[in-house]
Symmetry: C2
Subunit: 218 residues, 2 copies
């Protein structure tokens, strides 16, 4: 049947269709999508490679007919979180809201990636708890690029400006980065290309049955 | 090819895969999903039938292999918006955040339904503007059930409590409901069943090419 093969008599038969008073269950949703919803929470220093890996993975998944979406500064900072500043309270609320939105996306069945430095362990752990509360997978992915490499890359000149004192509270320079203690996935983006990192993540998602296993070789 | 037919040599070939520095374009995303992302914004009085219609439509779309998700009090009030109260400012912020999240879902390619009374025209129009700003369809759906019918239904006893003065600022009783001026879809849920309403919405989504047209009759 055509994937969108609506019965042309839908309108006529509509009165026989069941009324629904609640959300579609995750299992029927996941069965249709051939994937389970999950949040892949990337964390790491500025210029550690989080976004490039996330986008590379997003493209690989979409190309395979799967559903993935990246939440990042581009679509969050000027939208949902545009009314937040940089106070300690607002930074925590920033991560909380991103965590709540990721949870909604994961509940909808999307492989949801978040790409934010998210330097504080307590904020990440709260988002993990939000997911565990409703039995949704939370995969913390640590982009463990040494700060020396990040600082050498410095694509936006932010490290240079932080060293010069022009940017304050810059993670890794004058604000702490609290590395994950037991991340589900730890990457060394200084030693592997983004596609290699993305492929390693896919292998882990299969192992956790978030993605279906590949078909057996012919 | 299997929908999840990963090339088993992915890991080996990974170094030949392109690196990506940006989001997947909407067109490739929509091509895979066989639908365009859109926000269906239901508005109407308490007990007007918004949620039942939204859930009925969600089930119909998912059953046809499409991707739909309902944002409603259940998944928003105790999550993303749990730190909001009922002041005028917080009520506007409530709708703003829901609008921003719907926009993200629509951008991801999901047929996103929101089911909130959303009584003020200005708040709904701001959400409409957010969508127009980035060329995403915003379909305002007015569940135009007369208040007498809603009050007679009163499944949660809220109208009774509002009339007794136990609930204050209740929409339609002692707080205004501003009906949409030009909604994309106006329903009379007191005259049509939820499946009939859902079918009417599907017809409109096809007309707007958000959903593919049904296959021609054989």
């Amino acid at each position: 049947m055509n994937r969108n093969g609506w019965d042309t008599a839908d309108a006529v038969k509509a009165t026989n269709v069941t009324w629904h008073h609640g959300h579609v269950g995750r299992e029927s949703r996941y069965g249709q999508l051939k994937q389970r919803g999950a949040t892949l929470w990337f964390t790491g220093l500025s210029a550690s490679g989080k976004s490039t890996i996330a986008f590379t993975l997003e493209h690989m998944l979409i190309d395979h007919g799967l559903l993935a979406y990246v939440l990042d500064g581009d679509n969050i900072r000027h939208g949902l979180n545009k009314n937040l500043g940089f106070s300690a309270e607002d930074r925590a609320e920033n991560i909380r809201r991103i965590g709540e939105v990721a949870r909604l996306f994961a509940d909808a069945g999307v492989i949801t990636m978040t790409s934010f430095i998210s330097p504080y362990r307590i904020d990440r752990d709260k988002v993990r708890a939000l997911h565990e509360e409703v039995d949704l997978p939370f995969i913390e992915i640590f982009a463990n690029t040494p700060i020396e490499v990040c600082e050498q890359r410095d694509p936006k000149g932010l490290y240079r400006r932080a060293r010069a004192g022009e940017v304050k509270f810059f993670t890794g320079i004058d604000d702490p980065y609290e590395a994950p203690v037991e991340p589900e996935i730890e990457l060394r983006p200084d030693r592997m290309s983004p596609p290699e990192c993305a492929t390693a993540i896919i292998a882990e998602l299969r192992r956790r049955e978030i993605l279906a296993a590949p078909p057996p070789p012919r």
